[in-house]
Subunit: 334 residues, 2 copies
DNA sequence: TTGTATGCGTTATCAT
DNA sequence: ATGATAACGCATACAA
């Protein structure tokens, strides 16, 4: 079943069928009707592979992420997929894990699949440490446009949509300082581009208040609750006092709440806690968690919007930044 | 840059190049070397669209789900995508929402994209009520194999992988009854195939202990915490006593924990609570939540395994069932 | 407005 | 073992 069968049935040429199929002008109403009827009679569907071959595109975007089961990334993927579909694009999903060789491999794979563009979701693709090698991304950008969500690379054909994480953490830390806190703990679980911005926001806020950031108050935790809990218990055991915790992720903040429970501390009276990402978790704890909303939906829409414009040849800024908002719940006094 | 360029550079015909490309026999070592070298020199990548046209497949599987940001579904998608890739297949993701027309539309879309098979993830595609119309799925199965994860339709070319939800809820309810509970509340948030199995498991367990299920003790809650909380508060206000809560989802169980907090009830001493899905949430609450693990990973792997076998023409059972396990934490006494 | 002819880049068949 | 050529099904430039 192909376009020839339809043209035969309708008594017109394949060119006319094709024109009808693609909504092109210069088709008489009569011819159009005949073609439409033939298509219906034969239950014809155009062969997308043949179309792809001729047009050299399948209207497909590759989505890469380290782990699509991560709440934050899962949300981003959800919004991105929906938005792409609204624009007539399919999404090929690629979960790479954290291994750089796998990332490289999958990026190459997507290019060989001739997707029209690639969206790299999450901060796991760009790091700030010197050993970071994102050369494979700039290399890929020679072939097709790449959009980073929560990561930034200065490069031709690479675009970034970012949440202003620095400002978000800077602001919340400042608020805590203004409210009289002196000993604030910062817990983080990532040294990615976005992770470092948050950490710097914390440090800069302290410095703006004349406080020198102390390493004993800034702890890297692998992404789980128990690590955060353990870290705070260790600080307590060593005799390091603290009266507030800012976390780079809600999960770590949950650990802080568990710490408060274990020490019978009143939250927020004796310990104020702030999480990040405004995930479901923030509504599950007791008390409910004040959290920074990193605006995943807006970020996702902006990413798709950017890519669509690039594909149309429209002009777009290489970097767009969106502000986070603070969702006040019950682990803070303000 | 195409296969002709390579053949020219290597000084052989395109047939030979194609043979090398696809690891086919009847190529001399010498010719193979020349081709490989030419491919390397030119940095040639075969055009996948042309290959798709000739072979009539792009080695791609469609994954449909109602909402990829849902924790449970996000996990399933993660495992499925990884497993498909191991088998050399790409995944096209489709988030349909709950509207049946959208589901129908996207299923048609995937078929028109000529994917090799479709995996329907989650129980949102099959319902047990009479108004349910899954005719579009059986219709689609005429075109390509379909695998349901947590749903079942008896039909040719439709396969199901299921968690034994009935048994899981039956068992946990029985345990609670054995431990002396008489007034158990069941909270659920879905009337899907899987949702009904859970509900029936609850009812059957009661009946096995000579208790007639009371509607006042079985409540449908839309999927959020506050609804569960409100429901339990309402029961309390009306004077309906209860000493245990079984929930069809961890989120609802979180609502039950919040209820206990609001009434200053000791958990599990005064109220035992069991959740479902063993999500992160179960580790975030205080006390941590006993939950039924529905084995998403195993389910996902089984789904891919089934589909791969079908595509190979191997024989497969139409339904495979996997048993849930109970993850004991601190909201239950046993 | 309509139709013819060609190209897209593979894989596969069949002859050599 | 190798090569010439057809077939896959569409879009489109160009001719009519």
């Amino acid at each position: 079943m192909n376009i020839y069968d339809v043209s035969k049935k309708a008594g017109v040429s394949i060119a006319t069928v094709s024109r009808v199929l693609n909504g092109k002008p210069n088709v008489s109403a009569k011819a159009k009707d005949k073609v439409l009827q033939a298509i219906k009679d034969l239950d014809y569907t155009p062969n997308i592979f043949a179309r792809g071959l001729g047009l050299n595109t399948m209207k497909t975007i590759g989505i890469m992420c380290s782990d699509s089961s991560d709440t934050y990334l899962a949300n981003a993927i959800y919004y991105i997929e929906q938005e792409l579909r609204k624009n007539g694009y399919d999404s090929i999903l690629c979960c790479t894990g954290r291994d750089i060789d796998t990332k490289r491999k999958y990026l190459d794979l997507l290019i060989s699949k001739r997707v029209d563009g690639i969206i790299l979701v999450g901060s796991q693709f760009v790091f700030n440490d010197p050993s970071d090698d994102y050369g494979y991304i700039t290399e890929a950008a020679k072939e097709l446009p790449i959009v980073l969500v929560n990561g930034a690379i200065e490069n031709d054909n690479i675009y970034s949509v970012l949440c202003d994480d620095h400002k978000a953490v800077y602001d919340i830390t400042s608020t805590l300082l203004e409210n009289g806190h002196k000993k604030i703990v910062y817990l983080y679980n990532s040294t990615s581009f976005s992770g470092m911005k948050k950490l710097n926001g914390f440090q800069d806020a302290l410095q703006a208040y004349g406080i020198t950031p102390q390493p004993e108050y800034m702890h890297f935790c692998s992404k789980d609750i128990t690590c955060a809990l353990q870290t705070l218990q260790d600080m307590d055991a060593v005799g390091l006092p603290f009266d507030a915790v800012v976390a780079s992720d809600d999960l770590l903040a949950v650990g802080a709440i568990k710490y408060a429970h274990s020490k019978q501390l009143l939250v927020p009276e004796q310990l104020e806690i702030v999480g990040y990402n405004n995930s479901v978790l923030s509504k599950c704890t007791e008390p409910e968690l004040t959290s920074i909303d990193s605006q995943v939906e807006q970020l996702s829409l902006a990413a798709v919007d950017t890519l669509m414009k690039v594909l149309c040849g429209d002009y777009v800024t290489h970097t767009s930044t969106i502000s986070a908002t603070i969702i006040k719940r019950n682990t803070t006094k303000f």
